[in-house]
């Protein structure tokens, strides 16, 4: 029964966060290389055309996964990738997922992913808020890596 309760809570949480632009996983290890997925829904009646991810200062993006149906571009500051933009038409009630690879910060703590979602009609939604805001930034909790002997 306890398992049932845990699953119910997990489902409630999952269905709530599914409505936002989110980045997965939401927990990772300090200093680790990670495969991240940006999940983008179009919730309203206007098609999403592009999504821009601002790379947090202490995260190093090494690249993106290529795939059909979208294009991408990097914005760089010197050698460092500071933003990634994926362009794809995501119609209402559709979701898209974009994958990138990054090295986590060396210290534990939250990483907030600021994302800008742009629509066909020229409007945009900025997923840059904090928890409780209308459009919160997705957060990955960076935990200390286990010490090796």
């Amino acid at each position: 029964m306890r398992a049932a309760m845990l699953m119910a809570v997990a489902l409630l949480t999952a269905s709530a966060v599914d409505a936002h632009v989110t980045i997965w996983p939401q927990e990772s290890k300090a200093g680790a290389g990670e495969r991240y997925t940006v999940r983008v829904p179009t919730e309203g009646k206007v098609t999403t055309t592009e999504v821009e991810l601002e790379v947090p200062a202490d995260v190093r993006v090494s690249g993106v996964l290529i795939g059909a149906g979208f294009t991408y571009e990097f914005r760089r500051d010197g050698d460092r990738i500071v933003a990634v933009t994926w362009k794809q038409d995501i119609k209402p009630s559709e979701y898209a997922e974009f994958v990138f690879f990054a090295v986590n910060p060396k210290t534990a703590g939250p990483v907030a992913w600021r994302v800008h979602q742009r629509y066909q009609d020229g409007t945009s939604a900025d997923w840059t808020g904090v928890e409780g805001d209308r459009r919160p930034a997705s957060v990955t909790r960076i935990v200390a890596a286990p010490k090796t002997k």
């Binding site: 269905s15 808020g129 805001d133 209308r134």
Partner: protein
């Protein structure tokens, strides 16, 4: 096949659609014609609860999406409530006759939503215009003991 006590054991026979398929199936061993499903009772309970939760969630969410915001009530009249979120944004959220107001597990009234109240507001699919499906009020402040 041994079946542990407390498990459910169900056997389904695949129905053939055409006579030639019947012949083909008759030539098979009985085990090939049956799909056996062993479902642990606990797994069934978990799946049942999950199904109920998903169904209920979809019913509440209208479009299948739930957005909630939280913050402090800045103003409230009969038509709308202004909520300042943790990020400093002030949102105007319409109140309708379908808006539910609760405090803990108790039903409350729109009149209980007062300036300064801490609230969590279910704004449905989060699209404009924002409409409050439910306003959850924080606990009443406890008066300091004298």
């Amino acid at each position: 096949m041994a079946v542990a006590a407390g498990n459910w054991y169900t056997s389904f026979v695949i129905s053939p659609a055409y006579p030639d398929e019947i012949e083909k199936m008759e030539s098979l061993q009985p085990n090939h014609m049956q799909v056996r499903v062993i479902m642990n009772r606990r797994t069934a309970v978990v799946l049942g609860v999950a199904l109920l939760v998903l169904t209920a969630r979809a019913a509440w969410a209208h479009d299948g999406h739930i957005h909630t915001i939280m913050g402090t009530v800045m103003e409230r009249d009969a038509q709308a409530v202004q909520v300042k979120t943790p990020g400093g944004e002030t949102l105007s959220i319409a109140i309708t006759d379908k808006t539910r107001v609760v405090r803990g597990k108790q039903k409350a009234a729109v009149a209980d939503v007062q300036k300064g109240s801490r609230v969590v507001v279910d704004i449905g699919n989060g699209e404009d215009p924002l409409i409050a499906n439910e306003i959850r009020l924080g606990p009443l402040p406890v008066a300091p003991k004298k």
